[in-house]
Structures are given as structure tokens and as C-alpha cells.
């Protein structure tokens, strides 16, 4: 379908060699863990890196102690090895996604061919520099063969070519990207991990008596989940569900007041996002058959009030501080909201067990993650309903 009529010069090699090496290792190998821990040490060494919270978070995740803890969950009956060469297609507008993807590829024992985001981020470049530096240490001679990081402009030919050479692909970047990559021919045994568009929800059960301090803290954690990436991360909440019987809930009023204070102080908006924001709400108004009312008391926190829970809420696209708000009186009412699109449910005042119970009882098609509010962006090997490490491994049956 796509011919090889591109110049290999258009693929810029950042680290490693483009020789389609598919050296493998056992999953969770000591060398890989040491290598990632070295990344952590390097990141942690420089004070100037502190301002890049995403880089710091990634570094912190790479700590040996953390990795060994996660590894212990994997000490199962079966031995796991890499499947071969993994192609990572990372989104062009997130700086650290590639790093996490690469870490998963290495931990599962694979060789990795990573396409960097098209946009140039300081953090991305810093991390690449670090990797370049430590990869030549002599105790990482296997890792060296298993890492190739490239950059190229959007190109069907190159993407098709690379797709034909690999044993697995991790495709971030949403439905459109996935559908495009599905068009390319791959090896018969090549597997794909697709991270498609998702919808995430926040569920709050106001406590009967709470001191004010808690609300401020909750509001801050909510702000980080929702506003950090303009609500465009797949795990950022787009809907806020209140579980309460109170008609005029004091906790809710105080919560939004606190969020409003934080937003006023910290959130930067501009003319272009303002236009996009209002355009998106209008688009949802036309596309969705739900009737709703939009509240603009504060333009930075637009609320879309919906009377009844419905699966169609995912058709109301919320960005730049727009929230569908629903009140339910019984926890089981959330079953009317959950669809296959539902990814993360961030909680306050409710135990994850209760949600798991509902998923089981009503055989809910969605909810792949249950986290406390404030942890929506915490990434781990279990993501989007996949165990990414196991999925990318060859498991020896006995």
C-alpha cells in the first residue's frame, strides 16, 4: 500500500542505531532496573530540573525501590521475555509520555524504537541527553542495543515502513492516530497496544462534617487533575458527579469556591482558548440530544448542569475548565453514566472497593482505573485496562 519512496535521511536518529535490532531480555531484568535507576539518579542530581514537574515525576517513578516493588507484583508462575522490537508512537504534544512508554518497553524485555514528539520540549531534550550519557556505561551494553530514539515529520511512508519491521506497537495519541496506523501492514504476530480517546469522571461524596482545610486540599488536587493539561489528558475529569441527597450542598459550594480561587491564581487562559472553549460547548449542544444548561458565573470554570445521568455525557466535550455536573442520590446511579469510553474514575469520600463492587454487580463496560482525586495523572504499568508489561511480553507456558 505504501511504497518505500522516502529518504531514510528524513528519519533523524536521536539515540542509537536504526538497524531494527530485536535483542530481547527477560522482563524486569536487573540491567533494565539499574538503567532506569541511573536515569532517576541523573535527574535527581540537578537542581535546575526541579521546575520540570513531569520530568521529576518520571524520574521518581524510575527509582529502584519503586520498580522492585512493582516487580514483586509480577513474580508469578511464568517466565516472561520481550517479544522483540516495539515501535512507540508518542503524542506530539506531551513531553514525558515517550519516556514512560520506553521504560515499559524496556521492563517488558523488548528492544525499542521510539518516535519522539514532533514538538520540541526542553524536558524531552534533557532526558534524551541523560539517556545518551549513561547508555554508554559498560554495564548497559545490552540496553544500548535495545534503544533507538528517532524523530520524523508526519509521514505515512515512514510510519508504514517502521510498522512493517516491528513485533509490537504502542500507539498513543487517540482514535485518529490509531485508525491511521491500523492501515499499515504489520507482521502477522505483531501486537498493538492502542491508547484511544477516553472519558474520565470524578466522583465526590461530601462528608457529613468536614473542616475547611480538607476542602482546600481537595480543590487543589482536583485542580491538578483537571487543569494541568487543559483537561485534554485522557484521565482528566470532564464530569463531576456529586453523591448527595442534599438539595443545597454546602460542601459543594465551598469546593467550587476554593477551585475558583486556585484557578484565578494559577490558570493561564488566553483569547484563542476562550474561543475554542465556547465553540466546543456549542458543538456539544448541537451534537448531543441531552438537554443541559451552561453556567458561566466564572468563565474559567464553566459548568454544564445535567439533570439525569446518561451515557451520552461523553458526547459533551469539556476542555479548558468546563465540567458536566450531575447530582446522584444513590451510588448505583453511576451505572447509567459508565460506558466503554470511561477510563479513570477519581474518588473522594468513596472506597475503590465500592466501585469495583458496582462494576462486578452491574457488569459495567467501563472504568479502567480507580484513583483518589489528585492522582489522575499517575501513570503505571496497568493503564487503560491493559497490563502493559505482560501484554508486551512473551510468556513461557508450562
Amino acid at each position: 500500500m505504501y511504497t518505500e519512496n522516502f529518504s531514510k535521511k528524513n528519519i533523524k536518529i536521536v539515540i542509537g542505531k536504526l538497524d531494527f535490532n530485536s535483542d530481547i531480555d527477560i522482563a524486569w531484568s536487573d540491567e533494565t532496573i539499574e538503567f532506569l535507576n541511573n536515569i532517576y539518579l541523573q535527574i535527581n542530581k540537578k537542581r535546575t530540573y526541579k521546575k520540570f514537574t513531569d520530568l521529576m515525576t518520571f524520574g521518581f517513578w524510575c527509582r529502584k525501590s519503586n520498580l522492585l516493588k512493582i516487580k514483586s507484583d509480577y513474580e508469578k508462575k511464568y517466565r516472561m521475555f520481550g517479544r522483540g522490537l516495539v515501535l512507540h508512537i508518542t503524542p506530539s504534544n506531551a513531553s514525558m509520555n515517550f519516556a514512560f512508554s520506553l521504560a515499559i518497553g524496556l521492563l517488558s524485555g523488548n528492544s525499542n524504537l521510539v518516535r519522539l514528539p514532533q514538538r520540541s520540549f526542553v524536558q524531552t531534550n534533557l532526558l534524551c541527553k541523560i539517556i545518551k550519557k549513561i547508555i554508554h556505561k559498560k554495564n548497559f551494553k545490552n540496553i544500548r542495543k535495545r534503544v533507538c530514539i528517532v524523530k520524523y515529520e508526519k509521514s505515512n511512508e515512514i510510519s508504514a515502513y517502521l510498522s512493517s519491521k516491528v513485533d509490537a506497537r504502542i500507539i498513543w495519541g487517540g482514535d485518529e492516530t490509531i485508525n491511521q496506523f491500523k492501515k499499515y501492514m504489520t507482521k502477522p504476530r505483531c501486537i498493538d497496544l492502542n491508547f484511544s480517546n477516553r472519558y474520565s469522571i470524578c466522583l465526590i461524596k461530601p462528608p457529613l462534617n468536614k473542616i475547611q482545610g480538607d476542602i482546600a486540599n481537595l480543590a487543589l488536587r482536583f485542580y491538578n487533575d483537571a487543569y494541568f493539561m487543559d483537561q485534554q489528558g485522557c484521565s482528566s475529569p470532564q464530569a463531576v458527579i456529586w453523591l448527595t441527597k442534599e438539595k443545597k450542598c454546602n460542601f459543594k459550594i465551598k469546593f467550587w469556591k476554593k477551585v475558583s480561587e486556585i484557578v484565578e491564581k494559577n490558570y493561564k487562559s488566553d483569547l484563542s482558548t476562550a474561543g475554542k472553549k465556547i465553540s466546543l460547548i456549542s458543538e456539544s449542544a448541537i451534537k448531543s440530544n441531552l438537554s443541559f444548561k451552561t453556567k458561566y458565573k466564572n468563565f474559567k470554570i464553566i459548568k454544564i448542569n445535567l439533570k439525569n445521568p446518561s451515557k451520552d455525557i461523553e458526547k459533551i466535550k469539556c476542555q479548558f475548565g468546563t465540567f458536566v455536573e450531575i447530582q446522584i442520590t444513590n451510588l448505583k446511579d453511576i451505572k447509567n453514566i459508565i460506558s466503554k469510553q470511561t477510563q479513570t474514575m477519581s474518588l473522594f469520600g468513596i472506597e475503590p472497593k465500592e466501585i469495583e463492587g458496582l462494576i462486578q454487580k452491574y457488569k459495567l463496560p467501563g472504568i479502567d482505573r480507580i484513583v483518589p482525586i489528585g492522582r489522575a495523572f499517575d501513570i503505571g504499568p496497568i493503564w487503560d485496562g491493559y497490563d502493559t508489561i505482560t501484554s508486551l511480553s512473551r510468556i513461557i507456558g508450562r
Partner: protein, 354 residues
């Protein structure tokens, strides 16, 4: 519906801001109800996003819709047979605006343009020269922003000529013939800003100079492309003066979503809404208007659209209000400046196109 006859009898820039508001407010309310009743999508937006149409006492409080919606949807107010769909070149995501024009709206557009033009240019409208190719009036090009503009201006003039052939080569002979004609009538030269810029480069060395005061040059529609070439208004105007010997140069601001009620640049360098239109400049909270001389998003109102709900639009363009009723050119009402598209913010998040 609106009593257009009454409005067309007025001088389009004679009303002071207070009187203009008095005239426009009830008419825009009528338009709101009309589109609300006859356009389902518009009704959904009003019901869900704005809540209500009543209780609005000021023009600035009436609901506006974002210009990008015309790219995403085909918004029609009436289901009639003679609808023609005009398409603009898109900016966001390269989608096209799809504007449904019926006969009524099309006539209103032509009349409004004529009124506005006549106020700015007190000339006999004998001849217009288009810096464009004859192809622009053929087939689907006729329904593009360029085609619609050329066609709109063509209708006002007795004679017209194209200065480019269908291969985009300059028709030097045509220009020279016009320069050397004995007629004392002013010649109007019209074209898209970027086309005129390309045209200037092509004829630079051909020594084509109009007689002093012989021609007026009108251009619009293309500043964005010009800024990419870093051509400022001054460089543009100076080049026209140097190469063509024309000093009477007017930019206009218009959009395919509101054809007809365009904004001409006056002798003092400001754009003016006529009685067919109004502008507001909004800050990043949208519910607030920007202060005088502060940049914001241009919201543009036009009383002409009947067949589509484009009478009150929030654009993606940057502008600033410079004054009310006191422009030195003598025209009443607001006057403003335009600064191209609002700069785009990079999208964040993990969803993105391959």
C-alpha cells in the same frame, strides 16, 4: 421581520452610537427569534449554552456563536430550494465554512455592499479591474470567499476586467489600455491582499504607473498570509505607491460568514461598522468587553443573514476599539483596528493526530 427598506434609506454612517443601538437592538432581537424558530442547531445552542433570549436589554448581551461552528456544521435557517452554499478557505483544521445563502439574503448583501461602498467612494462606478483570474467566477470558485467578493464588487460596476489570465499571467496590455484611456472616471482596482502583493512583484519592472488620482485600490481578505511574509501595512502601501503610483488605498475587513456588511478602512486608517453591522471586542473571559484600545476577539454582528444564523458571530480575529462617534473622518459609531488572527495556543494533552 426586519423592515430593511427603512434601514436602507438611511445614510449608513450617520447615526451616533446611541441612535444606532436603538435601531439595531430590536432588529437583532427579531433576528434571534427568527433563527431560533427556524434553525434547530441555533435553537440548541441558545437553549443549552445561553439559556434564554429574553431579558436582554443591551446589544452586547445578545448571544453570539463562534465562527468555527460554520466549519463544523451546515447551519441553515430555512429549507428552501434556491440555497447556495458558499465556502471559505478554512483556518482551523483546514475545514471550510459552509454558508447557506438564499435569494433574500443575497439581495440584502448586494444592496448593503453598494450602500457602504458608495459612502466611502463617491464615484460613478464605471470600471473595476480585478487582480484575479476570470476562473474565479467559474464553477466552485464562485462560491469561495474570493469568488463571492469579486462577484459582489462586479455587480456594482458597469464594466469589469481581470488583470490576470487563467494561468495567473499579468495582462499588461489591459492595464496600459486603461491607464491611457481618455475617461476621467476613477478606476477601482480590487483584489485579495496576497494576490495584489504577488501582482506587484510581477509588474515591478514593467513601468506601469497610473496617472495621479486616477485609481483607487481596494484589498482585503489576506493579511494572515502577508504577515507570514512579514509585509506590514506600510510596506504594502508604499510598494503600491512606488510601483503603481496609487495613493488612495483602502483595506477592508469582511468574512464569508457576513458577506455584504463589510468594514472599510477610512482615510484615517480605521475600520467602521455601518448601520448594517456592529462590532464588540471581547476579552479572554468573553462575557466582558475589552477596554478601549485593548486588544481582544472581534465579535461581528450583521443584520443581513436570513438563511443562516450568522448575524452575531465571535471571530478568531484580534481587534481593538479605538473610539466612538469621533473618528476624524466624520463617520459616526465605533471605529476599530484589526491585527490578524489571535495567536494559537499549542494543544496540551495526549490526544493528537499521527
Amino acid at each position: 421581520m426586519i423592515n430593511y427598506q427603512k434601514i436602507f434609506k438611511l445614510d449608513p454612517y450617520s447615526l451616533n452610537q446611541r441612535k444606532k443601538q436603538e435601531l439595531l437592538l430590536p432588529n437583532f432581537k427579531k433576528l434571534n427569534y427568527f433563527h431560533y424558530k427556524n434553525c434547530e442547531s441555533y435553537r440548541k445552542i441558545i437553549d443549552k449554552v445561553y439559556g434564554e433570549l429574553d431579558n436582554k436589554k443591551k446589544l452586547k448581551d445578545l448571544p453570539f456563536i463562534h465562527v468555527s461552528l460554520f466549519k463544523k456544521f451546515e447551519l441553515k435557517t430555512k429549507q428552501v430550494k434556491d440555497l447556495k452554499i458558499f465556502k471559505s478557505s478554512g483556518t482551523s483544521n483546514n475545514l471550510l465554512s459552509k454558508i447557506s445563502i438564499d435569494k433574500t439574503t443575497s439581495l440584502l448583501q448586494a444592496r448593503a455592499l453598494n450602500k457602504i461602498f458608495s459612502n466611502f467612494f463617491n464615484i460613478k462606478k464605471t470600471k473595476i479591474l480585478f487582480v484575479d483570474t476570470p476562473n474565479v467566477l467559474i464553477g466552485s470558485s464562485l462560491y469561495s470567499a474570493r469568488g463571492a467578493a469579486v462577484n459582489g464588487f462586479k455587480q456594482m460596476f458597469k464594466n469589469y476586467e481581470f488583470l490576470l489570465d487563467n494561468k495567473n499571467s499579468v495582462q499588461i496590455k489591459n492595464i496600459k489600455k486603461n491607464i491611457n484611456s481618455d475617461s476621467n472616471e476613477k478606476i477601482v482596482i480590487f483584489g485579495f491582499t496576497s494576490l495584489i502583493w504577488d501582482f506587484l512583484k510581477k509588474i515591478k519592472k514593467k513601468n506601469i504607473k497610473f496617472k495621479k488620482g486616477q485609481a483607487i485600490l481596494i484589498h482585503g481578505g489576506g493579511w494572515k498570509r502577508m504577515e507570514n511574509k512579514s509585509v506590514s501595512k506600510k510596506i504594502f502601501n508604499d510598494s503600491i505607491k512606488d510601483i503603481l503610483n496609487i495613493t488612495d488605498i483602502h483595506n477592508y475587513y469582511g468574512m464569508i460568514e457576513q458577506t455584504g456588511s463589510i468594514f472599510f478602512e477610512c482615510e484615517k486608517g480605521y475600520f467602521h461598522p455601518s448601520i448594517f453591522s456592529e462590532i464588540f471586542i471581547r476579552d479572554k473571559n468573553l462575557s466582558n468587553l475589552s477596554q478601549m484600545r485593548k486588544r481582544g476577539l472581534i465579535q461581528s454582528l450583521s443584520i443581513l443573514p436570513n438563511s443562516y444564523p450568522g448575524h452575531n458571530i465571535l471571530t478568531e480575529d484580534l481587534g481593538e476599539l479605538c473610539g466612538i462617534d469621533d473618528c476624524k473622518c466624520g463617520r459616526k459609531g465605533k471605529y476599530f483596528l484589526i491585527f490578524g488572527r489571535a495567536p494559537k495556543t499549542e494543544a496540551r494533552g495526549c490526544s493528537d493526530v499521527y
